[in-house]
């Protein structure tokens, strides 16, 4: 070691006199000492394998290129591998690879003392653990022979590998409330996720091979909520939508149980968007975590049953009505007024409901009837005249919300009985004949509601005849008047 340093300093002095700016660079060009070159004669070739007592092996190959580019290029092999030289090559006996790595770390610490490295958060954490008896292994993160300058190029081919060098292990993080969270990241799962191509620091900003700030959160939940802020860097549109949602409203009122991005989407295993049945099922399961009772009701409904048991892709899942990001409070009038359109998205679309033999007139017949017209005007009045609207019966008032059953299989008597009850909510003195004032989405015809069919039919014939007769009389009158003159 002493000899190498002397050569370095002598050369540096000589060269700096000639070309001052190149001094540093030239100093680094310190030739591999004769000893090192000799080592590389054998270790520069692949094939040498060291076997530990527990049968573990390690390749004793050293890439000459890499060691020349490393920050340790001025060192001779024996400065770290003390006891080894061209003359002496003791065969050390180590129990295992881990034991060997542990011992190697103590060599690093000869120069890189605890005092020198403790300023970096990642080291400080490791040093704390060391006091508790967990000795850090330098080569877990820093490569042995290809160590590059901290400010220089990366040791690893990509950032993910660098982070993985620690985070593949069972690390954990402790929160101020003594909760713990694993920091182990499953690389395979991460790579196959929708974010497989992202770098760790794309989400964990502020972290890099140089920076590893220690963050102290009160609780695991607070950490999760804070992490969700990362999503907005790319998903600004959806992030902004969530600010209008009922979930964000809960959160802003201090309810930390309110879901944030990662609660539904996950963190390292974010799924690719799936429009299939599987995606639909997964989505409903996500909502189920917080809304289990609603899910159970939905699962028994005509929609839920078809999704879960028949893998039907036409049925609505939670987000089809409630939306995914800007979820509104369904108890508001604005939401109530949107319901017919919501149901109509499928039930007025022949491409969706046609194959089930369902009528697509349901939306039109509702909107053109008393309730639909009133609803439309109440909406306009609320928006334009700021008039508080009364709730008007919409689809779910008669058909149910999450518990919608098929009208085909339902018992007509029970449907009617339930209907009277619903009518009585607004029409207090309604009797059991009252619900039949509603035509149940049917258009009057000879077989259905003939009375209305005939009234309309008579006028449809009579009105044009009368209209034509009167016009004719007027025209004849004018004509005769003109002739007389």
């Amino acid at each position: 070691m002493k000899a190498g340093t002397r050569i370095r300093w002598t050369l540096a002095l000589l060269l700096s006199l000639l070309v001052l700016p190149a001094a540093g660079g030239q100093a680094r060009q310190a030739d591999e000492s004769g000893a090192s070159r000799k080592c590389l004669l054998c270790h520069g070739k692949k094939g040498i394998v060291k076997t530990f007592l527990n049968e573990e092996t390690v390749e004793a190959y050293v890439n000459p290129e890499k060691i020349r580019a490393s920050v340790h290029n001025f060192l001779t092999c024996s400065e770290c591998h003390s006891g080894f030289s061209a003359e002496s090559h003791p065969s050390g006996q180590y129990k295992s690879r881990d034991q060997y790595r542990l011992r190697s770390s103590s060599i690093c610490r000869r120069c890189h003392s605890a005092d020198k490295i403790k300023n970096k958060a990642v080291h400080a954490t490791l040093l704390k653990k060391e006091k508790l008896g967990v000795t850090p292994v330098c080569t877990n993160c820093h490569n042995a022979h290809s160590v590059t300058a901290a400010s220089g190029g990366k040791i690893f081919s990509n950032e993910k590998q660098y982070c993985q060098s620690c985070h593949q292990h069972e690390l954990s993080m402790k929160f101020r409330n003594e909760e713990r969270m694993s920091l182990q990241v499953d690389l395979a799962a991460l790579d196959s996720s929708a974010h497989g191509k992202l770098r760790c620091s794309d989400c964990h900003y502020g972290y890099s091979s140089e920076e590893h700030p220690e963050k102290r959160f009160r609780s695991r939940r607070e950490y999760v909520i804070a992490s969700s802020e990362s999503c907005r860097r790319c998903h600004f549109d959806n992030y902004t939508k969530t600010l209008d949602s009922v979930h964000y409203s809960l959160l802003s009122h201090g309810n930390l149980k309110a879901p944030v991005c990662n609660d539904c989407h996950g963190s390292h295993q974010i799924a690719h968007i799936s429009h299939g049945v599987k995606g639909g099922l997964i989505t409903t399961q996500r909502c189920k975590r917080c809304h289990p009772a609603v899910y159970e009701t939905y699962a028994k409904s005509v929609h839920g049953n078809a999704l879960i048991n028949e893998q039907n892709q036409d049925v609505p899942i939670c987000i089809d009505c409630h939306t995914a990001h800007d979820i509104q409070n369904p108890m508001t009038m604005a939401y109530h007024e949107k319901i017919p359109q919501m149901c109509g998205n499928c039930h007025a679309n022949p491409a969706v409901v046609g194959k089930y033999g369902l009528s697509t007139d349901v939306l039109k017949t509702y909107l053109e009837d008393f309730h639909g017209v009133t609803l439309g005007f109440y909406k306009k009045e609320r928006e334009e005249l700021y008039k508080p609207a009364r709730p008007i019966a919409v689809c779910n008032d008669c058909h149910g919300t999450h518990n919608i059953v098929s009208t085909v299989s339902a018992d007509p008597a029970s449907v009617k009985k339930n209907l009277v009850k619903r009518c009585q909510k607004c029409h207090l003195d309604a009797t059991e004949k009252f619900p039949s004032a509603w035509l149940f989405h049917y258009k009057p015809s000879l077989s259905k509601y003939p009375m209305i069919f005939f009234v309309n039919g008579i006028y449809r014939i009579f009105l044009p005849i009368m209209w034509a007769g009167l016009i004719l009389q007027v025209l004849l009158h004018i004509w005769r008047y003109a002739v007389n003159r």
Binding site: F377, S436, A437, F462, L463, I471, Q473
Partner: protein, 252 residues
Amino acid sequence: MNGEFRVKRKRIRRFSTYRVLEHWGIILTTMILFATGLCQRFWHLDLSQWFILKLGGIDNVRLIHRYTGLLFSLQLFSNVLVGILGVLRGRWQPSMFITKKDYEDAIHNIRYYFGFENQPAKCDRYDYMEKFEYWTILVGGILMIMTGVILWLPTLVTRILPGEFIPAAKALHSNEAMLIFLLNAVWHIYNSIFSPEAFPLDTSIFTGYISRERMIREHPLEYARMEGVAPEELEKNVPGETQSLKVGVPAK
């Protein structure tokens, strides 16, 4: 109304003040009913929506429509009641009843329009067109009132009648409204404003008076009865300006 009318210059009293006021009442109520009713029937039109919001919303429009309907009903009932009582007490002729002559007059006039007759039909106090209009509005009005009540009180009605009567009443109400509206818009407006004989306005229902010329032309039988002469003599013998006339009872 003692049956004595003085002929002022060339004018003859045709309608009493009561009838003039009654007509004004009908104009006002039907205008309001049509405005607030048609915008409900054609709710999807921008104009209707604008109008309904101007009136403060659909609830207001329905309220105005219903109470104006109540007012219209009162006018209609009083018209019928006054008419029946007047005829029963022998004060007025039942001049508004449709008779066989009205059918003959209608056929006569069609023949006249086509040139098969030289003269138009000679009509009495009300010609067949006026009668047609009156009865259409009267019968239509009664239908409107009946169906309107059903629509106003659906829960009460369904205590007795089946629920289907509500949408049927709605269909009838809006269809009948269209019939009356078209009748008024085409027929009545033409006859009292745009007809070459009335243009620019037949003022008799507002002033209560009609000119002698029009009386002779349009209601020759009534005028002849007033004069106490045969209808055929009217054309030859037009009475002088200041002559006092014993006018026939202005029935209905």
